[in-house]
Every structure is written in C-alpha cells, then in structure tokens.
C-alpha cells in the first residue's frame, strides 16, 4: 500500500548529506492506472493538484487520479511570474483571492515542503489621474474587505523601492502607488511538487504523460475518460486544463466563453539584490520582481490573437522592455537570459469559471486567464468542495458558468489586467 513519505527536516538533510545525497526517495509514486476512480482530475498543474489534495484532505475522497498530458507543473504552473496578491476590486474576487492568500501563508508548514513564499509586498503604480482614482478606489474597496492595502505618494514609492525612476519628466511619471505588504512571490515548481507529494501521500494517483482524448457521457452523466493510456472510469471528472480547456470541453460537446492566448515572460541574467518587492504598472504594462537566484522576472502581455503555440510575438516583449527601461533606467544594460510563453484561457470578464455543467459529474475550473497562480490553493479548495458536494462553495458560487447567461459578470479587468 501507500508508504508515507519521510518527513523533510534538518535531520533528514544531515542524514542524507552523510550518505552523499544518494538515498533521497522520489517525492511521489509512479502508479499503475486503475480502471475505476472516485474522481478524476484532468490537468496536473497547481490548480489540479490542489484540487486532488483538498478532495483527499477535506472531503475524504482519496481514490483519485490526476491525469497530466506532460509532466507535473510543466505547463502554466512553471511558466508564470509567481506573483501572489489579493487586492482585487469586487467583493466576490477579493474573498476568493484572500482565501487563497491565507492558505499561502501556512502552505510550507502544512505541506512540509518549502515553497519559498516571500511576503515582499506588491506595489501597483499610478501614472496619471485616472490611475490614481482607480487605484484609490481599489485601495478603499480592499480596506472594506479587510484586505491590507496602503496608499503611497511619490516620495514614499521612492523610499520603498529606490531604483524606480520618480522623475516628473518621464512620459508616464509615478504619481503614487498602492502597496499590499502581505502579497509577494513563491517558488512555483515547489508549489506543484509540494501538493503532488502531499496528495500522493494520501493515496492520489498522479499519472503523467497521459493525454485525455475523449470524455464519455451516457444519459447526461459522465462515466469516464479516454486517454492515450486507455479508458479510465469515474462518475466525477474535474477539468483544470488552463489553455486547453476549450479543447477538452469540446469532447463533451460544451462550448465555453474562453479564448486561449500566449502570455510571455522573461528573466534576466542574475545580479545582486536590487529590488526587494514586486512593482506593477497597468498603464505602461510592466511588472518586475527579482528571484532568489537574482534574476529579474519580467512579465509581458498577451498577444492579441488566439494561439496554442506557447510562444508569442516579439513586439509584445519589446513593448514591455520599453516600459521597464523607462521606469527603471538602471536596468537598461541588463541582458535577458530566457524567454517563454504559456497559453492562458481568458474569460470575457477576466474572472475564472469554477462551476458545474449541465452534464452530471463534469466540472470545470478554468478561465483564470493571466492571473491564476496566486489563487492556486484557494482554487483547489473551492473546486474540491464543488466536486465533493456537487454544489459550489460560497466562495465560488458567483463564478458559475451561468453568469454569462444571467449577465451577473464579475468584471475584474482593472485588477487583473497586467498583474499576472
């Protein structure tokens, strides 16, 4: 049966150091696929793994398969810019993202896995009167929702992040910023690995290199999936496949309000610590932070057309770099080391869909668009609740697919636009 993994500790580190690190065990099994499961999660990214983890932990459903086309955390979980915050405008989103942020705060302890969550603060910069008004509105909305947020004037911005160019003579001068001090970054791979290890320890089968090719439905009930490794049966299927959600939905004859687009990011050569927070600007479309390795992590925008190619247009990178160099002239001689794209599924209202469907037992968690990483634990928490109880958690009830018919959209373009 399932062998509980050894707890990581300073003692295990010393013990393994003495044996030249040759005896570390795999963090999760490579299981045989069973014929039947109580639930199948399609997609082994952060959101899928947290869903399986919380299904096992909070709802006692442990006979679960997580089916992943590639490898764990090789999709958008390993491609984002790792920013975590909860300063959203509307009550519905604020509640969902704040729930996630609270889970982030205890994650490393809970998983016995260091996800390097660093609450270094996220600063959203204002460059014109409209920005100032919008960000002050969001600051007030956050305070009403019990989410920490501060307003900084130009001098305070300069004090908090000295490398930023606060000269009044640049094209888009810094007029102020909001600051969420509890926000920050985490190591994205570790989040996937930590939850995979945690879920595996409770009996979840993580099946990698297994692509879903069909969804079996009979009389309005879901019965299982077809994969490149054969048929797997289950009465509950949760689809958490980000950019490819529309493709999976089509297998069940469902059309979703999603468009898949490339979103690019890039990192520079590593340098000494220079920026100890996350700086974002919606107006000039730039955001930057520094990783623990010393690389600047820079996020670009989405391309203006649908694509599944996992690479984007160079013009998007050029625009972002122009903005970064204006805001941080000190970075103008930095060399960029790596650059990549991920495919994000964007909803018309820039809010996710965490919902049942008209097919019994088929659930979708999608539409996170450009900003799903920060919600990883919260998303899994509420999606697990939705799957286990066949009804949404209070936090994800507003994010039903039906909102596109009812018109009750959660328009978060302002808070989600740049800050991925």
């Amino acid at each position: 049966m399932i062998k509980k993994p050894k707890k990581y500790s300073v003692f295990s580190l010393v013990r393994n150091a003495l044996s030249y690190h040759e005896n570390w065990q795999p963090a999760w099994r490579n299981p045989e696929i069973k014929k039947n499961y109580d639930a199948i999660i399609v997609g082994g990214g952060g959101h899928g793994l947290t869903t399986a983890y919380y299904l096992a932990k909070n709802h006692g459903i442990k006979n679960i398969a997580v089916v992943e086309k590639g490898w764990i955390g090789g999709g958008n979980t390993g491609r984002n810019t790792t920013i975590i915050r909860s300063n959203y405008l509307w009550d519905q989103s604020a509640a969902l993202y704040e729930h996630a942020l609270k889970l982030w705060e205890g994650m490393s302890q809970e998983l016995n896995y260091n996800v390097m969550f660093s609450q270094r603060g996220v600063m959203n910069v204002a460059h014109n009167l409209h920005d100032v008004r919008e960000l002050k509105r969001r600051w007030n909305a956050n305070r009403l929702n019990d989410i920490d947020c501060e307003w900084l004037n130009t001098e305070q911005v300069k004090k908090f992040c000295p490398v930023i160019n606060t000269s009044p003579n640049i094209r888009y001068p810094v007029l102020g910023a909001t600051l969420q001090r509890r926000a920050g970054t985490a190591r994205h791979d570790a989040v996937a690995w930590g939850y995979a290890r945690g879920a595996d320890a409770m009996g979840v089968d993580i099946i990698q290199n297994c692509e879903v090719t069909g969804i079996n439905v009979s009389n309005g009930n879901v019965t299982g999936i077809e994969t490149t490794k054969g048929t797997i049966n289950s009465k509950k299927i949760g689809v958490v496949s980000a950019g490819h959600t529309s493709v999976i939905a089509k297998m069940a004859g469902i059309k979703l309000p999603l468009e898949s687009r490339p979103l690019q990011a890039l990192v520079s050569e590593p340098v000494k610590p220079i920026i100890d927070t996350v700086v974002m600007s919606n107006t000039i479309h730039a955001y930057v932070s520094q990783s623990d390795k010393g690389e600047l992590v820079i996020g670009a925008g989405t391309d203006g057309y649908n694509s599944y190619t996992q690479r984007g247009g160079f013009n998007i990178v050029e625009d972002t770099i122009m903005a970064i160099v204006e805001l941080f002239p000190i970075f103008s001689r930095m060399k960029m080391l790596r650059h990549w794209g991920g495919i994000v599924d964007i909803c018309p209202d820039a809010s996710p869909i965490i919902s049942k469907t008209h097919i019994n037992g088929l659930y979708f968690n999608c539409g996170w668009g450009t900003g799903g990483f920060k919600a990883t634990p919260g998303s899994g928490w509420v999606f697990a609740h939705t799957i286990a109880n066949d009804q949404p958690h209070a936090l994800n009830a507003p994010f039903s697919i039906n909102r596109f018919s009812s018109g009750e959209l959660v328009d978060e373009h302002g808070a989600a636009a740049v800050a991925h």
Partner: protein, 115 residues
C-alpha cells in the same frame, strides 16, 4: 510575430493589424425573441479551436479594412486570406494528431504519437 497579407495593401507586420476574433458569427436576426442562453452563445461563447481557425482581422494602422484569415492556431501558419462575406475556403492544415497534442511542425515542444 505574424506577417499578414492584407488583401488591399499586401504583406505587412502583424503590429499594424488587430484581430477581431472568430469569424462567421452571425448577429441574430430576431434579437427580441432570443433567450438569455442564446444571447450568451452569441456574445460570449467561442469555439477557441486548436487547429484551423477562421478569424476576422482589421488593418487598423493601415487601410482600416476588415477581412478574414484562415490560421492554424497550433502552428500560427496563415493558410488563406479572404474577403468579408465570403464563405470559408476548404483547406488542409497541420492539425495536432491528438486533440491537446503538438503539431508536426512549428512547435518546440514534446510530441504525442498516435497509439
């Protein structure tokens, strides 16, 4: 970046254009009779195809004309350009072998072969 052959101006860089999304979505002829679900279908639901997709483009920083483009979203190849109002052409495209898999060309990612 794409190179798009505008039917009026010739080949130009994609930066001059804006994509207008999925083509051939017809505005409902009887708006007052539509149900909420039918409105949602018209306004929000999209095919979001991986493979051959027909879409509208506008040469917004050029002649400002609209036209249709047939493009493979798995490889970004542009297969045809045709005028508004025309029916989509019949085309062969390099669609991925498996629904979520990678195409034979134009991808640096791993490939999935058929069973």
């Amino acid at each position: 970046m794409l190179l798009i052959n505008c039917p009026y101006c010739g080949e130009r860089e994609q930066e001059e254009f804006s994509c207008g999304g999925e083509a051939h979505i017809e505005r409902p002829k009887n708006p007052p009779e539509l149900s909420d679900d039918q409105w949602a279908d018209y306004l929000f639901l999209r095919q979001n195809i991986k493979g051959l997709q027909f879409e509208r483009w506008n040469h917004s920083f050029g002649c400002r004309q609209w036209f249709n483009v047939a493009r493979n979203t798995a490889t970004d190849e542009i297969l045809a350009v045709y005028n508004m109002g025309e029916k989509p052409p019949k085309l062969e495209s390099n669609d991925p072998i498996t629904p979520c898999g990678e195409p034979k060309i134009g991808s640096g990612n791993f490939s999935t072969s058929k069973k």
